[in-house]
Amino acid sequence: MPFNLLVLSCVSYVIFLFLVAFIAERRAAAGKVRWLRSPLVYTLSLSIYCTAWTFYGAVGSAAASGLEFMTIYMGPTLVFVGWWGLLRKLVRIGRQQRVTSIADLISSRYGKSNLLGVAVTLISVVAATPYIALQLQSVVLSFGVFASEDREGTALWVAIGLALFTVLFGTRNLDANERHTGVVTAIAVEAVVKLVAALAVGVFVVWGIAGGPADILGRIQAADRPEWALEPARWAGLTFASAAAVICLPRMFQVLVVENSDEKHLATAGWAFPLYLLGMSVFVIPIAVVGLEMLPDGNPDLFVLTIPLEAGRGDLAMLAFLGGFSSATSMVIVAAIALATMLSNHIVMPIWLGLMRPAVSGDVRRVVLLSRRLSIAGVLALGYAYFRLSGGGAALASIGLISFVGVAQVLPALVGGLFWRGATRIGAAMGLALGTAVWIYTLFLPSFGAISPDGFGIDWLRPHALFGTEGMDPLLHALFWSLLLNIAGFCVGSILSFPSPMERLQGAAFVGVFDTAPGPSGWSGGAPEAEDLLVMAQRILGEETALTLFLTEARAQGRAGYLPDPTPAFLERLERRLAGAVGAATAHAMIFQVAGRAAVTVADLMAVADEAAQIMEYSARLESQRQELTRTAAALRDANAKLTRLAEQKDAFLGQISHELRTPMTSILAFSEILMGDVAPEDARRQAGIIHAEAIRLTRLLDDLLDLSVLESGQVQLHISDVRLRAVLDRALAAAEHVRPRHDLTVFRDSGAEALVLRTDPDRLAQVFINLIANARKYCDAAEPQLRIVVRAQDAGVTVDFIDNGRGIPRPAQATIFEKFARLDESGQAGTGLGLAICREVMANLGGTIAYLPGQGGAAFRVWLPL
């Protein structure tokens, strides 16, 4: 067939579609919509689910892997038959909340968060762009079957033509109403062409080429291809992915929810759409089997075209070509409308409004239309660019399923938002972010080799074996991990975060959408109950204020009692008053919901009002607590400065007093020692001995106090040198000899470990050791006192344990023994009560620690020094 004739028939077909759309728009404008908005047209419009990918690709897929292509039809069938309730809820919410896209739905559910809208928009665009490229490719390929000339320009012209059509009929309405009667009607016509073409080729193959159904069944049996074996895991996964896609694909959402004009149409679609899918798929296997026999070297993706051509039926091939063309164009048109709406509403318009804020005029509608038209052109340009850049090769073949898994990331936030009031914006954002990141990493980037399969050398990061899950089908692997993390993020985020009042309102409106009858939700629609308004106002403004407000209003209206008529003027005044207390958005939402009798029950509003009051009370309390804390902090700062000053004075004082006391002590000691000599009588000598002993004890106490004050002030001078631990211990043991010398303390040492060389102040360390050994000599009450000195070098330091075999230190006292004057013994042992306090300070100055080591049998201390 000459190329020009092909182009001519295409152009004629497109002009025909233009006419259909145009006439439908005219009839709709004239109010004659009965037939145009019938359940049949609605059901047929849903057929954009069957793109060129399914029209041509199903046969190719069947040729390669048998019945697996059926999963793509089973998912939607299960949803439409089995989870019809979800669709009904979606449609009801879509109408009630005037939702314009799936991004809008998610954004609206989670407190009108534009961030979520942007996120869903971006996911959708990323997932849909390769898909649109795939449609362009299919058109180019099918052109190629008929004519080999000039394949280069085809895709570009198709893209431009589609952009033109979509702009003309997709953005015709200046009305805020998002329904596109013309487009939907044209698509319904295309759906018929698709189905007729698929059935016609199928009938021809079964009865024209083969000898009827029995013959085909025989051929299927004879084909006996091992690669056609069923893989249950892949079946389940693909069915699930396509079920998710039929809800979450932006274009499906567009026809299913946005373009829906009557909820009842769903009832028809519930059985008719699965039937349509059955019609599209029933002849797929026969065509594949006959094609593989007739054209063993042919591209199975194009059997729908090549079999009629081979059999000399050019007319039938032409019909099949138009069927494929319809599949591609209808998908691209609706996808472009849906994506353009999202792009325009969530990205272009917010930016434009942000930039033009001071200059926004009354009529933004022209800007909306312009931005939407530009977005449509942009979406198609993206698709075309992707087609050119990817080279249109086999890389596109698996794009359909990759796309499905991508849009399935919206599912948890969507379904969760419809059935779980506790779902929050944070949770939705977390789930979306996690799931999308995993999808991009494990499926999207690897699909065109943009990422290396070894996961940056980290084993559990390999894109096809995340967390070490080897051997899974890459698609199932990505589906499993992305949705698992998505759902986990969604649940955890929702549970851990607290929803704003707006989120609560919207959550209640979405989850409880069936709790109230559907109806118009404008100011003019319902008569709000003044009493409800009063109850709500009381919760927010306080009883007296609210009553006074209502009484004044009622008097002004000339009514007796407290309840005025809910006139728009009154509602406006009330809203302003409430806004002062709870913020404008919440106030508006509250009044709107009560006055509009929308989905939220009064009980829900009361909950919000209570919450707001609690939050206000709580924040007032917080403020007063904050002030109190500030005052306390200032007082503490003063006290601390005073203490610091006192500590400095104390240090100086102790130093001075130690010196002043030492001088008289020197005389007392000297003279008492003289008197202890033989110059005096026996009694006097003994008493002078007591004076002498006590004077020595007093002097030691003075020494310790002075030492401690120097150590605590941090002004101690250390004399650091390299010293063998053994030498320090030897010195300490020798120095401790004079303590209760009549006691025989057996000391066990570990000379091997003691060979260690330390860099420390030997005198100070010896001081600590002397203290510990002296304590053992003094307090170890075993019949045969023993002291074990255990040295252990660790990686960063050395521990020296001093363990005796006495009674040890009772648990309650262990906490305080390092405090000053925390002496245990009541037995009148000589000691100042400062020894361990000094040890602790010395060790702190040496950069080490000393601690009591419980559970060693006797008293045990561990000295630790860094190496």
């Binding site: 010196h659 002590m665 005389s667 000297a670 003279f671 003289i674």
Partner: protein
Amino acid sequence: MGHVLLIEDEPNIAEAIRFILSRDGWHVTIYPEGAGALEAVRCVAPDIVILDAMLPGQSGFDILTRMRADPDMADLPVLMLTARGQHRDREAAEKAGVSRFMTKPFSNAEILEQVRLLVPQ
């Protein structure tokens, strides 16, 4: 026995040291302040000086430094006493050229032993 010059401003401590040393047969001269201490050493020409570190007028460290600078007194044994037994004092004394350093309070036997050691009999 030799001659001890005791430079000490605390009369009680001076009396105690004098008693201990005298009983052992030493001749003890007491000089009670820092000022003029150097002249006192030169006049008395003792065998040993016992020097308190904290003295009114001039510190024991200064006196010792000057003594060591004077060829006549450079080799004279000096036993220094201080009520602050800290490292800083000990180092200052050693730097100034002290023969022996003792902290107050001391034991009588100890001071006697040190004097005996420092003065060759």
